[in-house]
């Protein structure tokens, strides 16, 4: 498995996108230097690769960065796909093209609909505090704007309602999908990691969405029981990593 390339993973607390990548790394047994940075202070913007476009303009917002031979790679689902390609152990995507499509389409909807909602709700409940020195270094004007809005405590009611309904819809879809299945795609995949990454904190922040969703509750316990996930969660330096948030993907500005 592992490669001779030099690999460094800059990650935050094991929640949201950092959770997906750390868990995928351990699932696949990939060796990389792990460097914890405070994503919730904007520390990503002082990395040597911060101005590379893939880092500065990542749609994911403040996510982890995997640096391979000097190239900063972002967007957790695609980093996980990369780790799946280069690592050993059981595959994290099905081999059948249709089931791979299901996995990627599921992740796409999670990225586009669930993640922005979860990041909005997470940051509202646990506001990140940017180091003012770093704000000026943020290469993406719209990401900088999201930081500024959050710093000023601006969370529009309309987006709040929309985010809650997106989380409810995601949990409902999750629950339906788990009917007769242990994992979302039948076998364990990146889709499980990505959905869990964004939903874990929502149990506390949008409790109504989870009421009576017993299959989702049991699925979350199964995920937490995996050795790679336990290892990822053990890297937390705060008591509750689900209370750790940084600005994520923006809420769709155009349907």
């Amino acid at each position: 498995m592992s490669t001779s390339m030099s690999m460094t993973l800059y990650h935050g607390e094991p929640n949201g996108p950092s959770f997906t990548v750390l868990a995928a790394l351990f699932e696949k047994g990939v060796r990389a230097e792990l460097v914890r940075i405070d994503l919730a202070a904007g520390a990503r913007h002082e990395l040597p690769c911060a101005q590379q476009s893939a880092v500065a303009m990542s749609v994911e917002g403040e996510g982890p960065v995997l640096v391979v031979d000097g190239e900063g790679m972002t967007d957790s689902v695609f980093i996980a796909c990369y780790l799946d390609d280069v690592g050993g152990g059981a595959p994290l995507r099905p081999s059948d093209p249709y089931r791979r499509w299901e996995t990627m389409a599921w992740c796409r909807q999670t990225i586009e609909r669930t993640a922005p909602a979860a990041a909005f709700l997470g940051c509202r409940a646990h506001p990140p505090k940017a180091d003012p020195r770093l704000l000026g270094k943020i290469g993406s004007a719209d990401l900088r704007w999201r930081w500024e809005m959050m710093g000023a405590g601006v969370f529009a009611d309309e987006q709040l309602a929309d985010s809650r309904s997106k989380i409810a819809a995601a949990v409902e879809k999750n629950e339906a999908r788990l009917d007769g299945r242990s994992w979302l795609m039948g076998e364990f995949t990146i889709a499980d990691l990505e959905s869990y990454a964004w939903l874990a904190a929502m149990v506390r922040l949008v409790p109504d969405a989870f009421a009576g969703q017993v299959r989702t509750a049991a699925w979350m316990e199964r995920i937490k029981g995996r050795a790679a996930v336990r290892k990822a969660l053990s890297l937390a330096t705060v008591a509750d990593p689900t209370a750790y948030w940084a600005p994520g993907p923006e809420i769709n500005r155009w349907g």
């Binding site: 476009s53 390609d85 249709y98 909807q109 769709n252 155009w254 349907g255």
Partner: protein, 261 residues
Amino acid sequence: MGDVTLYHWEPNANSGKPMLALMEKGVAFCSHYVDLLNFDQHKPDYLAINPQGTIPVMKHGNLVLTESTAIMEYVDEAFPGPKLMPDDPRDRWRIRWWMKFMDQWLAPSFSMIGWSIFVGPAVRSKDPEELRAAIERIPLPERRVAWRKAIYGLFGDDEMKESQRRVAVGIGMLEKALSDRAWLASDRYSLADVNGFNLAYALPLSQPSLSNDELTPNIMRWLRSIYARPATKTCWAMGRTAMVKRAAILEQPHIGREHAS
């Protein structure tokens, strides 16, 4: 391969992505034109296929696939023909990064501009009652908002300005990437190029002061190389609207700054 059916609109944006990918792979498909300007995608027979009412949808035998970028990856994996994803894992990551960046950040801005100048005016003259009913039938709330804005011309100055800002930033990023490599995300023609052409084929016409042979020579080289491919020619010949026929501008050997005036 009589078992592939694609429900698509024009060779443009999301519809054009699987159309062009299928043609590059040499996969014959049954074409089912869904007229976006006639709201075909929100009619019951289409919603029975895709309840979200988004275009395109691909059927392969009994399988039904949505999400245009994910469909392209499926097309590349499920059919023989030239590979549109390279073997190198980091190239594959870069292709996916670009496709997401275009799909979620850059294309929505192009779209907002395109809908305000093309889609909105194209449907606005229809019967007001019919338009109201058409909007009511749209399943996704965010799509309902988008259509309402396009039909009634409700785009705000701030959001249009932000879209124009993003288009300018995106053009700069494309030009930079294409000055580093022959193709957008790897050294070979890939799904990122298929995706990007669908977004940018009319760039020298839609953004003449930002993209032309003098300001963005690498984008122009890239667009012309893709336009010259037989699959692209066949695909764009399926277009019915003036919007898609704008691709013909790529036949001009030189488009200079003077074009912008």
